[in-house]
């Protein structure tokens, strides 16, 4: 577990320089550019590895341009990639609006684009590859419902600290999760949306819901990185052991916290797999094959009971460890 964390950190450090990380490889099939919003975030870094891995397998060179969550930087990267005359662009934009501009610049230059996650508000692209958030959230909801029923807490309610619901992935996650609770006849207590994604924000939302709802028996975080703030809130509320915590996405620590029962479970996206699928779709397009416009990748719903069995997949597709 520790090893996984260290390797992840090492990868992250490499990407935070903001520089273009060009990998000199034989370019039989051409050069691909991966425009990513922020390579410092592990999810995107794991995805970039999946891209490189798949590109290498198919003979593509890959230029990675991290925007560091900066719109100008993102456009500079896009401009440079286009100026360099790349064969194709794999895009993980800073937001769906920014992707429109990039798609338009690429279209003018005649460069095909495959979008990996986040999505776009418009523009022409080859394929859009994303996680099946709704199904993943549904499966996660069932894990929580089952746990609450086993504990006899089915009368209690569930509070939700949500990512912004204007995002399509936020809406899909809430819908799938709430469907599972509904089927189990468990009530939702309240939804509070994150804005700054800070520790403090998550903590305050959690504390507020714990205070407002005496029968609150579980908290669901739609993100993974601020799970500690939620744990702190439960502890500070004096309701440790009385309120369960479950998260969407994954952190390396979860491989330990889930078996320990600190977390009831987590829904884990597969960024490495997504990177691979992106290159595969581009390759198919460049070869003139038909490519599905929208490709949904499954999310792994992991609980204490299933984690041991799902670990090899988690390691490769979620954490990108086995491929390195």
């Amino acid at each position: 577990m520790k090893r996984i964390t260290m390797r992840a950190f090492a990868a992250l450090l490499l990407l935070t320089t903001g520089a273009v990380l060009a990998v000199e490889e034989p370019t039989h099939q051409g050069r691909l550019a991966y425009l990513v919003s922020d390579l410092r975030i592990p999810f995107w870094e794991i995805m970039s590895r999946g891209i490189r891995s798949a590109a290498a397998e198919r003979g593509y060179a890959v230029d990675v341009y991290s925007a560091d969550n900066n719109a100008k930087q993102e456009l500079i990267g896009a401009g440079k990639a286009i100026a360099d005359g790349v064969t194709g662009v794999i895009l993980s934009p800073t937001n769906s609006s920014a992707s429109v501009t990039i798609l338009r610049l690429a279209e003018r230059a005649g460069i095909p684009v495959v979008i990996a996650d986040v999505g776009t508000d418009g523009g022409e692209y080859v394929s859009y590859i994303a996680s099946d958030n709704r199904t993943g959230a549904y499966e996660l909801g069932r894990i929580l419902a089952e746990e609450m029923q086993q504990r006899g807490w089915q009368e209690g309610s569930v509070g939700i600290v949500a990512i912004p619901q204007k995002r399509a992935n936020g809406q899909a996650r809430t819908a799938g999760f709430m469907q599972a609770l509904k089927e189990a006849r468990i009530r939702g207590a309240e939804i509070r949306q994150q804005v700054t994604f800070s520790h403090e924000e998550t903590y305050q939302h959690s504390r507020a819901m714990l205070a407002d709802h005496a029968n609150l028996r579980a908290l669901w975080l739609q993100g993974s990185d601020r799970y500690q703030a939620a744990l702190d809130a439960i502890a500070d509320s004096g309701r440790e052991g009385e309120v369960l915590l479950i998260c969407f996405d994954a952190e390396p620590e979860f491989l330990q916290l889930i078996p320990e029962g600190v977390l009831v479970g987590a829904a884990m996206q597969q960024p490495f797999l997504m990177g691979e699928k992106a290159v595969l779709a581009m390759d198919q397009h460049l070869r003139g094959e038909e490519v599905e416009k929208s490709i949904q990748l499954p999310i792994l719903a992991v609980s204490r009971e299933t984690i041991a069995r799902q670990l090899p997949i988690i390691r490769r597709n979620v954490l990108g460890l086995e491929a390195q």
Partner: protein, 955 residues
């Protein structure tokens, strides 16, 4: 007249016209409104677009600066899209310098633009279609975008095409057209419905009611009423007009009936001449009048022409042509037309052109033929009796007057002499009184025959009246040539005459003859010439009778006396010694006072009131004096008439005019001046009376003067008609309005058949010349009765009123109410005048009997044989013809027989008392006989009717 009927040009329907007007008006108004609306809307749209462009620029530039600085290209692109969609802009183009820097360009150009289909697409700077669209855009607004530190970030350009304007204006046009169409249709429909409801339908209803006509083309139903005042007025006017037409048609039908009745009743023939084709329709009566059957006369004008007497044809044609040429208002001609049996009938042909072409060419003429044969023959008989003495058959004074003029003219032309002999029988009155009128008449006949035998064919003789004769011997070379004739006359007239009943006592008279010659040193007319002979005759008689005297022109013993009279009358005018008295002239059959005759009176300082007869004849040759006197009379009479008219009396004034006034050119001016001075006097209420003799000397000049007076409106009368020397020729040429029959005839008419005959003849002449007749000398009720019976209604005389002093005229007018006895009298038909004649004869017979009873020594009894007295001759002759089988006639015969039986008893009576008693009985029988005579013509005649008021200007 048959003919082709031209097809009536098709008229536009009022519905169509009104509809067209309404449509045109509404379309014009709405079209103007639409153009105005379109212009305003287009201006407003352009302004709105420009304003939108400015607002877009303003809004975008504010937000775009932040977005460019944040490199939020999609955001500002979305903003541009939203703005473009919201504003309907054609294109919004953003130049982004920051992006340009990133991309290695001057600026990154992006934006949105509408393609040809109106879809919003991304703006592509390299797309030539987009570039063209921007270049062709209607309105462009551009501004620079600056950052917070003032650095240039880019530009923004907003473009608007006229497509939007056009689209909007198209929409406006479409909407306006639709609105205009809808409003127009609505307005047209409403206006048309209103027009139809309130105007056209009522008019159609009126027209429809007028179209439903009867056989005469007159609408059967009245035009319907209407709620609107104007159409109600139209409807009323139509109904009023239809009513008028219907009444007029009925009146016309009545008139046609009357006309038909009149034509058929009168027995007149009718002709209808188509002048262009010369075809003539002759009525059945026309043909029948000439003895032809219907099929024996063709419809050609020649059928008439060839039957007209050759002597009359030229004149008839001339008159006809004058009328056809428009010179006369009506065609009137009297001519003879030959009948089937060859005899001629006198026809009064009257006609009028009833249709002319536009250039005046006559097309159709209609007229009548009246058979006036009996009238003409009667008139001829009248003329003969009017111009000849019924007793002797010699010309009377009328004819002689005409003949003497011709003789005088012939003498002047031949430069020969004419001797005029005025003969009066000495002792004739005594014979008349002793042996009766019949003996006197017999003597006169014999005397006339003896004188006639002594004369040459070219000489003339006439009986002036009573025992006075006149002879004109013409073509004498010297005065002395007449002396042998004078001696023969004296000798032969002094011979005895055997009267058939008194052969044992032959009648004997002598003659006193006055002679004068023509020409003389001074101009002289027939009247003066006759007067000279008359004067000489008196001198002869005064000198012991049975001799002749030649008028001595030079030895006028009365010259000094004459001068004295002239001075006296001149003085009388100056001293205001003259005055006018006024004798009323009335309608005897009614109550109407028609007027007055102004009669001169002289309040002589020493001789008292003088009548004009006593001084005027001696002064009549004094021209200046007569003119002065005439002027005074006229002015006085006009003043009196003016006063009467201002007092409300509508009467006329007759003024006697002398020969000098007739000839004086000043008279016309005087009349004109007086009419101007007294405007209340209607000219035709003034009548100037001329003595016959005044007009005779220059008949043409007199006629001209009369016509001039008549043109002023003044009427002219011929006074003392019958006593002068009137001739038919003069009467024909003198256009007088009235004949005044001399009182001498009127006074004697009751018992003197000669006077009655003269009166009858004079009235016949008056009728022939279409003059009014006024009888002077109406001195008794009997006179009035007989005059009314003869048809002479206007009279003046003592039985009505004596001449009235000026101050009493109005009092008299107020008190006059007519004579009831006259008002009950009905004018007789001319055929019944014979009864009047008979009554005159019987009155004369009774008068002779009375004279005999009163003075048997001087008078002889009248004819006692009822079959030989004149009344008896009438009773057994004409009366039986005219009144055959009338029971009254038997009664008259019985009365007449009783009268004669009593008369015989009178003659046989031994005592005066017995005779007087018997005469009184006879006079009673006489009255009964007169009454029976009256019954004779009343029973025979038509129902009596109240005489109608007189019409004509005299009234």
């Amino acid at each position: 007249m048959a003919g082709t009927v031209n097809p009536r040009p098709r008229k536009r329907s009022l519905y169509g016209v009104v509809g067209l007007i309404i449509f045109a008006a509404v379309v014009a108004v709405m079209g103007t409104q639409a153009v105005y609306s379109y212009t305003v809307a287009r201006t407003r749209i352009i302004e709105t677009i420009e304003e939108n462009s400015r607002q877009s620029i303003q809004a975008l530039s504010k937000h775009l600066s932040n977005m460019i600085e944040a490199y939020a290209v999609n955001e500002y692109t979305n903003l541009v899209l939203a703005e473009l969609e919201r504003r309907g802009t054609l294109a919004i183009v953003v130049e982004d310098y920051n992006m340009g820097e990133i991309l290695g360009q001057r600026a990154h150009v992006s934006g949105k633009i509408r393609d040809g289909a109106g879809n919003i697409v991304d703006y592509e700077p390299d797309d030539p279609g987009h570039a063209r669209t921007l270049a062709d855009c209607y309105f462009t607004a551009r501004t620079d975008i600056f950052g917070l530190q003032g650095q240039a970030l880019g530009t923004i350009t907003v473009c608007n095409s006229d497509q939007a304007i056009n689209s909007e204006t198209r929409n406006i046009i479409l909407a306006t057209l639709v609105n205009t169409l809808v409003i127009s249709i609505t307005l047209i429909a409403l206006l048309f419905l209103a027009m139809s409801r309130f105007l056209l339908r009522p008019i159609s209803a009126i027209a429809g009611s007028v179209r439903q006509t009867d056989a005469d083309g007159i609408p059967v139903h009245p035009a319907p009423g209407s709620a609107t005042a104007e159409l109600a007025a139209l409807s009323d006017a139509v109904n009023h007009m239809v009513g008028s037409v219907r009444r007029s048609r009925a009146s016309l039908r009545d008139s046609e009936f009357r006309w038909k009745f009149a034509v058929e009743g009168s027995g007149d023939g009718l002709w209808d001449w188509n002048v262009a084709t010369n075809e003539v329709f002759f009525s059945r009566q026309w043909k029948s009048m000439l003895g032809y059957a219907e099929h024996e006369v063709e419809n050609r004008i020649e059928e008439w022409e060839q039957r007209v007497h050759p002597d009359d044809l030229r004149n008839a044609r001339t008159e006809l042509q004058r009328h056809l040429d428009g010179e006369t208002e009506i065609y009137i001609n009297r001519h003879r037309v030959r009948c089937k049996e060859g005899n001629y009938r006198w026809i009064l042909d009257r006609g009028i052109v009833v249709e002319r072409a536009e250039d005046g060419t006559p097309l159709r003429m209609i007229g009548t033929h009246s058979d006036i044969t009996e009238q003409v023959e009667h008139q001829k008989a009248l003329e003969h009796s009017a111009t000849h003495d019924s007793l002797t058959g010699l010309p009377n004074r009328f004819l002689f007057s005409e003949l003497i003029q011709r003789a005088m003219h012939r003498c002047r032309r031949n430069d020969s002499l004419l001797a005029l002999l005025y003969i009066d029988l000495d002792g004739f009155k005594e014979i008349n009184d002793e042996y009766g009128h019949d003996a006197g008449d017999e003597l006169l006949i014999m005397v006339a025959q003896r004188m006639n035998r002594l004369l040459r064919q070219e000489d003339m003789i006439a009986r002036l009246g009573g025992d006075e004769f006149v002879i004109a011997i013409s073509d004498l070379a010297r005065n002395s040539e007449v002396i042998p004739l004078l001696k023969r006359l004296l000798h032969d007239l002094n011979q005895t005459v055997t009267y058939r009943e008194h052969e044992e006592h032959p009648l004997q008279v002598s003659a006193s003859i006055g002679v004068t010659f023509y020409p003389q040193a001074e101009p002289i007319g027939p009247e003066a010439l006759l007067r000279q002979a008359d004067h000489a005759m008196y001198e002869s008689k005064a000198s012991g009778r049975n001799q002749y005297r030649v008028f001595d022109i030079d030895a006028s013993s009365s010259l000094r006396e004459h001068q004295r009279m002239v001075s006296a009358l001149q003085n009388a005018i100056r001293q205001d010694e003259l005055e006018l008295h006024y004798q009323p002239k009335v309608d005897m059959a009614g109550v109407q006072v028609l007027g007055f005759e102004a009669l001169l009176r002289w309040n002589h300082p020493s001789e008292g009131l003088l009548y004009p007869d006593s001084f005027l004849p001696r002064l009549s040759q004094e021209r200046e004096l007569m003119l002065s006197l005439g002027r005074w009379v006229m002015e006085t009479a006009f003043r009196q008439l003016s006063e009467l008219r201002r007092a409300g009396y509508d009467v006329s004034m007759a003024i006697n005019v002398s020969a000098h006034e007739l000839r004086s050119p000043d008279t016309y001016g005087l009349l004109e001046s007086l009419l101007g001075r007294y405007p209340e006097i209607v000219p035709d209420r003034v009548e100037l009376e001329l003595l016959e003799v005044s007009a005779l000397e220059d008949i043409e000049g007199a006629a001209e003067v009369i016509r001039a007076w008549q043109r002023l409106g003044i009427r002219v009368a011929l006074d003392d008609f019958g006593t002068g020397y009137s001739t038919l020729g003069y009467l024909k040429n003198l256009p007088v309005d009235t004949l005044k029959i001399d009182k001498s005839f009127v006074i004697d008419m009751l018992h003197d058949s000669a006077s009655f005959s003269i009166l009858e003849a004079a009235m016949g002449l008056a009728r022939a010349f279409r003059c009014d007749v006024v009888a002077e000398g109406v001195e008794s009720l009997e006179h009035g009765e007989m005059l009314v019976q003869l048809g002479c209604r206007i009279g003046q005389g003592y039985a009505i009123a004596r001449p009235i002093a000026p101050a009493k005229v109005r009092t008299w007018l107020e008190g006059y109410h007519g004579q009831p006895q006259w008002m009950a009298i009905q004018p007789l038909h001319q055929r019944d005048w014979t009864v009047l004649y008979a009554s005159v004869e019987h009155r004369n017979w009774v008068r002779m009997l009375r004279n005999y009873v009163d003075d048997p020594a001087r008078h002889r009894p009248p004819e006692l044989d009822p079959l030989h007295c004149r009344f008896g001759e009438w009773l057994t002759g004409e009366a039986r013809t005219v009144y055959a089988n009338d029971a009254v006639l038997t009664q008259v015969e019985a009365l007449h027989a009783s009268v004669h039986k009593q008369a015989a008893a009178v003659v046989a009576a031994r005592t005066i008392e017995e005779r007087h008693a018997l005469v009184t009985e006879i006079e009673a029988l006489h009255e009964q006989l007169l009454k029976a005579l009256t019954d004779l013509y009343w029973r025979r005649g038509e129902p009596r009717a109240v005489p109608a008021p007189l019409s004509g200007t005299l009234g």
